[in-house]
């Protein structure tokens, strides 16, 4: 759906509708409560989920079967009892950082790094133990949080059971059998923040976000802590894409649903300075697989701008032309032409955690 979108914010879940050429706020659910992630209505009219991150009372998952008009709490993923000798972070759910649906299965990626699945619409969840029990998990570490987390879920649109997950900081892991077995799939990424002998270790990589092109699922794009990477073989290998203007640092990435060579990025100065270059918000777009980029600025603030677009703050609709971009300081912009021009939806929203069409 190209004319409805959702914004998960620090103060609730906002539904947007496009009326003519303008996006309007239709409704706010969970007013005042932090919503860390949402899953839009499955198939456009099915169940949708919202993950609340209650500061005092923990993560709670709510479901709606009427497009967000009404909600009811469903089961929340819960880690099993932690063995006394279990190393690593506490087995306690910190946050739901990603959600997706594929082939009738719901998936939830979490901090501290567990992946959960549900086959009954969220009434129950089970930890994917084959990934949780990997010995490599104990080498993962937090990227922006005290514990590692799964921020990217990339199911294959045709192959049921085929799923790639992105982890900060734990690289990328893939399964072809619905989660029963896993393999590292971050070969080629480079972690400059690691000692030289570890820089190429796939298990220590910090992909900020990974997205898969629905029409060409062997192509994935990654905005990494150290730059931009792309895979054309289903994540078996990754190649760095250099030459992005302004900066190769950022958090978000979006790929055109029908054109794997077109992707968008939102550059920041650097890891140690997470603001737009020269105080001017811009979007980098490639249309040729990363061989060249255009920097898009029309309609975006070009002076004294400190907006940061975090991992899930950039989204593209199924039409490949409609984009929404939301910042951690509550700015929200929309484009109807693939990013050539942007308009301000609001500058007064709460901090934005995620933007999704659907």
């Amino acid at each position: 759906m190209n004319d409805r979108a959702w914004v998960a914010t620090r103060k609730g879940l906002i539904e947007l509708r496009r009326r003519g050429s303008a996006w309007k706020i239709e409704r706010t659910s969970f007013l005042g409560e932090p919503v860390s992630m949402l899953l839009p209505p499955v198939g456009g009219s099915g169940r949708m989920l919202a993950a609340l991150a209650l500061g005092h009372f923990g993560v709670k998952v709510h479901a709606s079967d009427d497009g967000g008009a009404t909600w009811a709490e469903v089961a929340t993923p819960a880690y099993p009892a932690q063995p006394a000798d279990a190393a690593g972070p506490p087995w306690k759910l910190v946050q739901i950082w990603s959600m997706t649906e594929a082939h009738g299965t719901l998936w939830a990626g979490t901090l501290p790094g567990g992946l959960f699945r549900s086959t009954d619409g969220g009434r129950s969840w089970e930890l994917v133990e084959a990934l949780w029990n990997r010995a490599e998990r104990l080498e993962w570490f937090g990227g922006g949080y005290d514990v590692p987390g799964i921020h990217s879920l990339c199911p294959h649109p045709q192959r049921e059971g085929d799923l790639l997950v992105g982890i900060s900081c734990g690289g990328a892991w893939g399964t072809r059998d619905g989660g029963r077995s896993w393999s590292l799939q971050a070969q080629g990424m480079v972690a400059a923040y690691m000692p030289p002998e570890q820089a190429g270790n796939p298990n220590t990589q910090d992909p900020h976000l990974i997205v898969r092109c629905p029409a060409a699922p062997d192509v994935l794009w990654c905005q990494h802590h150290n730059g931009i990477w792309r895979s054309t073989d289903g994540a078996a290998s990754w190649q760095e894409v250099t030459g992005a203007p302004l900066s190769n640092f950022g958090f978000a990435v979006a790929v055109h649903p029908a054109d794997a060579d077109t992707a968008w990025f939102v550059p920041g100065v650097a890891d140690q300075c997470r603001v737009p270059v020269n105080g001017a918000l811009a979007v980098n777009r490639t249309r040729d697989g990363g061989r060249s980029f255009e920097t898009l600025r029309e309609g975006l603030p070009q002076r004294d701008c400190y907006e940061l677009v975090y991992r899930h703050g950039l989204a593209v609709a199924g039409d490949g032309r409609s984009l929404l971009m939301g910042s951690t300081t509550g700015g929200l912009w929309a484009s109807a032409d693939g990013g050539d021009a942007w308009s301000t939806v609001s500058l007064h929203l709460p901090p934005i955690f995620a933007v999704r069409f659907g």
Partner: protein, 101 residues
């Protein structure tokens, strides 16, 4: 005592109450129970509303980091085992800590 008047003796039992801040999420019963430990008292409340458990305890059954329990006006000390002792007249208040959120 006047003839015909019967005096009913009510044994004191611990009482558990929850912060009103929880009411917007789920039912928060006021529970009178014969518990002798904090954990048993909380379990009595969870028997009334099972969903309440996840708001007070985390995945490992520990008090959530930003939840505080007062027993007779004093903060509980055993945040993982919840073995704090209760007297027959104890008043237990489950509150949100003034942090996080």
């Amino acid at each position: 005592m006047a003839a015909g008047v019967r005096r009913r003796i009510i044994a004191a039992v611990p009482v558990v109450e929850f912060t009103p801040q929880l009411r917007r999420f789920t039912e928060t019963p006021r529970v009178e129970c014969g518990a002798t430990t904090l954990r048993d008292a909380l379990e009595a409340a969870f028997d009334v509303n099972p969903r309440l458990r996840g708001y007070v305890l985390d995945d490992q059954g520990h008090l959530r980091a930003n939840v505080v329990v007062f027993i007779d006006g004093r903060r509980s000390t055993d945040r993982t085992g919840l073995a704090d002792a209760l007297s027959a007249s104890s008043r237990v208040h489950v509150m949100q800590a003034l942090s996080g959120g």
